[in-house]
Symmetry: C2
Subunit: 118 residues, 2 copies
């Protein structure tokens, strides 16, 4: 698989379009939310109230790692298992999520911002 050009601009040279090429679905930003709240392990992501399916979770973790949003840290061998931690690129989405939270609180009354995990 090859990108449209060497700068990864898949659909256009718009920063929003490029961002949505990686973030534009129903689950990816929710995972980023969980990671920002302090979740690190597969089971923890599964426990979120939105109930992501396991195949989608595994797929998104792979894509997020491939795209440099998070890195894997081994916490166990035999079998090897990882904790997922955000890179700076991932952490810097905090402001985007924050803006979305502010908007969401206004237009979905009754919603509650989640507390940091753990």
């Amino acid at each position: 698989m090859v990108d449209h050009d060497e700068q990864n601009h898949e659909r256009s040279c718009c920063p929003i379009a490029c961002a949505l090429d990686h973030l534009g679905d129903k689950w990816t930003l929710l995972l980023i939310r969980d990671l920002l709240l302090g979740k690190k392990r597969y089971q923890e992501f599964l426990e979120s109230p939105e109930q992501i399916a396991t195949n989608i979770l595994a797929n998104r973790l792979k894509k997020l790692e491939a795209a440099g949003f998070l890195t894997l840290q081994t916490y166990q061998k035999n079998p090897v298992r990882y904790e997922y931690v955000l890179t700076k690129k991932g952490k810097d989405l905090r402001q985007v999520l924050q803006a979305l939270v502010e908007w969401g609180k206004t237009y979905y009354p009754g919603t509650e911002v989640f507390k940091p995990y753990g």
Copy 2:
């Protein structure tokens, strides 16, 4: 079709999850971008460089109207045709898009913020 509860919280009571229930795909926020830049008509949306398919555009315009992000203004009869204009709910996504633009400019070097249309 019925919502999970009377407050439209489809997956959870998280404002991010509720927002993504309507905005979480590859096209919806790009349409909001175009509307914020001043585009109003079907053809104008088609002319954006990301090349949205006509069936997806028609579908998204319907969903955005149904969800109160935009309203239709008749500009011609026989046949009746509409301009699409953002409501306050739609316009208030400007800060979200702005945060995404700032993030995108940093992590997709070479991208350029689009200029207002018209």
